[in-house]
């Protein structure tokens, strides 16, 4: 029902689109036009674009618009309704939300903007600011305001930011040079171009040093931005999380732009002078090629669309693979599981680093195998004395006090006051981990009813299969986040677990049925089995209830196709053919009996 409600708003546009298509096809038919004659302008690689193409300023010297005081005043109204909550009353990026965010809201005061068309260190163009407001900054909490604020409102609020909130520089200062980059001639992606781009990435520009060998952003993890906050290289295999993707993440134009301009205020430099236009296109093509599967995007989130049924395929020869490289895995497409932070119960956690897990599953008559793959910049093993890479350091800088707010809450005493620490601080580095959870007695609980998705409840226990980076494999009985018992059983096996180039691959197996029918989940094929996912990044202070989690998915072990599926259709064909011949005989006979009469 919720879904329907949300979809309604876009129905109007859909109708208009469908109607115009209808009209086109009707006229196409009438006029006998060739379908190929109608070619829609899809833009560059716009196959999976979910947004109209962003505005691009023309190359060369740029002069920003000077908004009138009326426009600035109108923009101020918009700002204090919508923007102030993150960017703060003075535009210093210190609104109420800032304490909980790791990518801090932009501090406008210095005039330092990441996503631009202009030279390194230069102010942005009006189009750049407009695009950022319109399309949002993916991977951060800045949403696309294009569907919410009118074009005028967006232009006005930009005027207010430029004239009132950027304090250290002025947009009409004659000394401010603003030069828009030139895209040159786009080089279409090809194996040759990608190969040339790889060479630039690895050797000439040394992108690899920060972004890692496979581009998962697992290179240099000790850098800070201009405001003193820790900053981590982008994971280029998740282009939908790149700030400047303009909701068109598979478009190399975005990469070309960012390589050319650099991201002001961050360690990402401009390569405009180091690399030729051609080299920048090659490297852009290479970066886009890192995402092997260009998944269709959910227009609401701008992230890959999620299906809530994880399909497990039957293995005919009865043996499950022991490693992720086995050919058998190619039979099942990897499915995405979306992960959020556990913000529901203490200890609340806001900054999970695992936002998606790639899932594959195979099964035999007796056993199921689950292959988890997820990106994690760090391989973390429990070490109390080691300094963690992320965690609440991400929230702080010298000028922004180091309070670990994710740990703090009121103590239910119904008194306002300073936030109190009710949970132990994370100390050092914890184990990375992954877990799935079934209802212990799921088959006896009539759908749609289930057990509470955060580790079960008092009444209905859950069976959790958990793996940790130190090699521990546990089967845990959960009756809520505060009531977890590791059971003695050793049915779950992890046959492969390896971290490489910023990605964990863990292969988990268990027999479908176990001896303990009460405490451990019994799995059967052909039914949607509710399943929930959990992940821990030990370098982000994640341990116990501080974790990433999903809501309910379903594991469907698809039964092998029954033989009748192949037998019945040919029989249907033969019977119908027989009917046809019978009809022919009948028609001939009718004509013979009524040689003069009309048929029928």
């Amino acid at each position: 029902m919720v879904g329907i409600m949300n979809k309604k708003t876009t129905t109007g546009m859909k109708i208009a689109g469908k109607l115009s298509l209808m009209m086109l096809s009707v006229f196409g038919l009438v006029l006998g036009m060739n379908g190929a004659a109608i070619t829609a302008d899809e833009g560059p690689k716009g196959v999976m674009s979910v947004a109209p193409a962003p505005l691009e300023p023309s190359p060369g010297t740029y002069k920003p618009k000077k908004e009138s005081s009326a426009e600035v005043e109108a923009g101020k109204g918009v700002y204090f309704r919508k923007c102030v909550w993150c960017h703060g009353p003075d535009g210093a990026g210190d609104g109420p939300s800032a304490i909980r965010l790791a990518t801090k809201p932009r501090n406008f005061n210095q005039g330092t903007f990441k996503i631009r068309h202009t030279g390194s260190g230069e102010l942005p163009t009006d189009e750049d600011l407009f695009n950022s407001v319109t399309h949002g900054l993916q991977g951060s909490v800045m949403p696309p305001w294009g569907n919410i604020l009118s074009e005028t409102e967006r232009r006005n609020v930009i005027g207010f930011i430029k004239q009132e909130l950027v304090k250290d520089r002025t947009f009409d200062d004659p000394d401010e040079e603003i030069t828009v980059i030139d895209y040159g001639t786009q080089i279409p992606s090809s194996p040759e171009s990608i190969e040339l781009g790889r060479d630039v990435f690895m050797n000439k520009a040394k992108c690899v040093e920060c972004h890692g060998v496979e581009g998962r952003g697992n290179g240099n993890l000790t850098q800070r931005d201009d405001w003193g906050f820790p900053i981590f290289p982008a994971n280029l295999q998740k282009p939908w999380n790149l700030r400047g993707n303009r909701r068109d993440p598979y478009n190399p134009r975005n990469i070309f732009r960012e390589v050319s301009t650099g991201l002001n205020g961050t360690p990402m430099p401009s390569f405009k002078d180091e690399l030729t236009v051609e080299e920048r296109w090659h490297v852009a093509n290479f970066v886009i090629s890192l995402t092997e599967v260009k998944r269709p995007l959910d227009p609401e989130s701008g992230k890959p669309a999620i299906g809530f049924v994880i399909k497990s395929r039957f293995v005919e020869d009865g043996t499950l693979p022991d490693s992720p490289t086995d050919e058998k895995w190619t039979a099942v497409p990897a499915q995405i599981v979306g992960m959020a932070s556990q913000i529901i119960q203490p200890p609340r956690h806001f900054l999970r680093t695992v936002d998606t897990i790639l899932m594959r599953s195979l099964y035999t008559e007796t056993e199921v195998a689950l292959l988890f793959e997820w990106d994690d910049r760090t391989q973390s093993l429990r070490d109390e004395n080691k300094e963690a890479v992320y965690d609440f350091k991400r929230l702080s800088s010298d000028s922004f006090p180091a309070i670990n707010t994710t740990q703090y809450t009121h103590e239910n005493d119904n008194k306002l006051g300073p936030l109190k620490n009710v949970n132990p601080e994370p100390v050092g580095v914890y184990n990375d981990g992954i877990a799935i959870q079934f209802g212990q007695q799921w088959e006896t609980i009539a759908p749609p009813r289930k057990w509470y998705f955060v580790h079960g409840d008092e009444k209905d226990g859950v069976d959790i299969w958990k793996w940790q980076a130190d090699g521990t494999v546990e089967e845990i009985e959960g009756h809520g986040i505060d009531d977890m018992q590791v059971r003695e059983d050793k049915n779950v096996k992890v046959t492969y677990a390896k971290w490489e180039n910023g990605r964990w691959k863990v292969l988990m197996k268990r027999s479908l049925l176990t001896d303990d029918k009460e405490k451990s989940a019994q799995l059967v094929s052909g039914t949607n089995i509710p399943i929930t996912f959990f992940a821990w990044d030990g370098d982000a202070g994640e341990v116990g209830g501080r974790m990433a989690l999903s809501t309910f998915y379903y594991l469907m072990m698809e039964p092998p196709i029954p033989t009748s599926t192949y037998v019945v259709p040919p029989i249907v064909f033969m019977v119908l053919l027989g009917c046809g011949f019978w009809a022919r005989q009948a028609a001939i006979k009718y004509k013979e009996e009524n040689p003069e009469g009309e048929e029928d």
Partner: protein, 336 residues
């Protein structure tokens, strides 16, 4: 002028095609709002049908081309299908579509068999195809005998191939609230409780509707009216203390950064179907008790809404409610 019987039978079909979206429209297909896009669709749809009839008339009467009923049949059928499947919005379920198409099929068959002549027009080609032995009939016979059973067999195969989709589980979004709840050791009776922070400039309770003068106003100025001071504090709870925006979004539209991972998705307060349909006390119950306190039909086991009484004090909950209504510009429902 004699109306060609061919067209007379089309009129009921048009009526059927038009009546359905009309009914959907009148029945509040747009969530109680004026469904303007549906209106345009209707106008264009009517135009298309009239255009099709005119085209038929042109071809028959003016161009003198006779189109056998057998050819008209699939064309009319396809027209009905397109109208019901594509033009009709919001989309109707398959079972309904099958029913309507059944009616359309009967109507078109009736039209084809209205007179002896027209039935002959319809059936003669079939009889020739079945019976005759000249090359053209043979070719069409072989093709028909292969294609028709072949397609039906393929469809059978498709039907028999097991498919595994997500189970359809219908969830009630706004279940009936309890009469009273206990929050922080205090009993709150939902029928009578009032938001203590719904206050006007004089500090007295502000009647629902009177807060509209504060909508869109700046709550961050130093001398902000009392009501706007509550709005600002509520906003600080929403964005800071509680972090509601992680799920419910910066625009309160349920599109926060975690929303993509949740099923059911977070509530969209900017939608006229949520908080504007509810009393403030209902919202208070939802915030204070969260997902686990929902009744069975609202799937308490799957909701990621925290029981906020564990993280916020009562006053913060009331203030965040003030903020939500102010930000979206909606009024809470009242008991009157």
């Amino acid at each position: 002028m004699k109306i060609n019987h061919r067209f007379s039978i089309i009129f009921p079909i048009i009526a059927v095609i038009l009546a359905i979206p009309m009914a959907v429209w009148a029945g509040g297909g747009g969530g109680g709002q004026f469904y303007s896009a549906g209106y345009y669709a209707l106008v264009i749809e009517t135009g298309l049908v009239i255009g099709a009839i005119f085209l038929g008339w042109l071809i028959k009467e003016k161009m003198g081309i006779h189109i056998p009923k057998l050819i008209q049949f699939p064309f009319l059928w396809a027209m009905c299908y397109v109208a019901l499947r594509v033009i009709l919005q919001p989309p109707i379920p398959f079972s309904l579509l099958a029913m309507y198409m059944g009616v359309c099929t009967i109507a078109i068959l009736l039209y084809c068999s209205l007179t002896v002549d027209s039935w002959k027009d319809f059936s003669h080609p079939i009889a020739v195809m079945l019976r005759e032995d000249h090359a053209k009939a043979k070719l069409s016979r072989y093709a028909t005998f292969l294609i028709v059973p072949g397609l039906i067999a393929a469809q059978t195969y498709n039907q028999m191939l097991p498919s595994f989709g997500e189970p359809i589980e219908l969830r009630t979004v706004h279940p009936a609230p309890p009469a009273s709840i206990n929050v922080h050791k205090k009993l709150v009776t939902l029928q009578t409780a009032e938001n203590p922070f719904r206050i006007g400039d004089d500090g007295e309770y502000l009647k629902v509707g009177d807060e509209s003068k504060y909508f869109g106003q700046n709550a961050w100025v130093d001398d902000a009216p009392k009501f706007l001071q509550q709005v600002k504090e509520g906003g600080i709870v929403f964005f800071g203390t509680a972090g509601c925006f992680f799920c419910h979004g910066d625009n309160l539209d349920g599109k926060g950064p975690f929303s993509f991972a949740f099923n059911p998705i977070p509530a969209n307060f900017a939608d006229p179907g949520t908080i504007s349909q509810l009393q403030e006390t209902f919202v208070f119950w939802r915030v204070a008790k969260g997902g686990p306190d929902l009744s069975r039909e609202a799937f308490p086991w799957a909701s990621a809404m925290p029981p906020w009484e564990k993280h916020l004090v009562t006053n913060e909950i009331w203030k965040v409610i003030i903020f939500e209504y102010w930000h979206t510009g909606f009024f809470p429902r009242t008991w009157e």
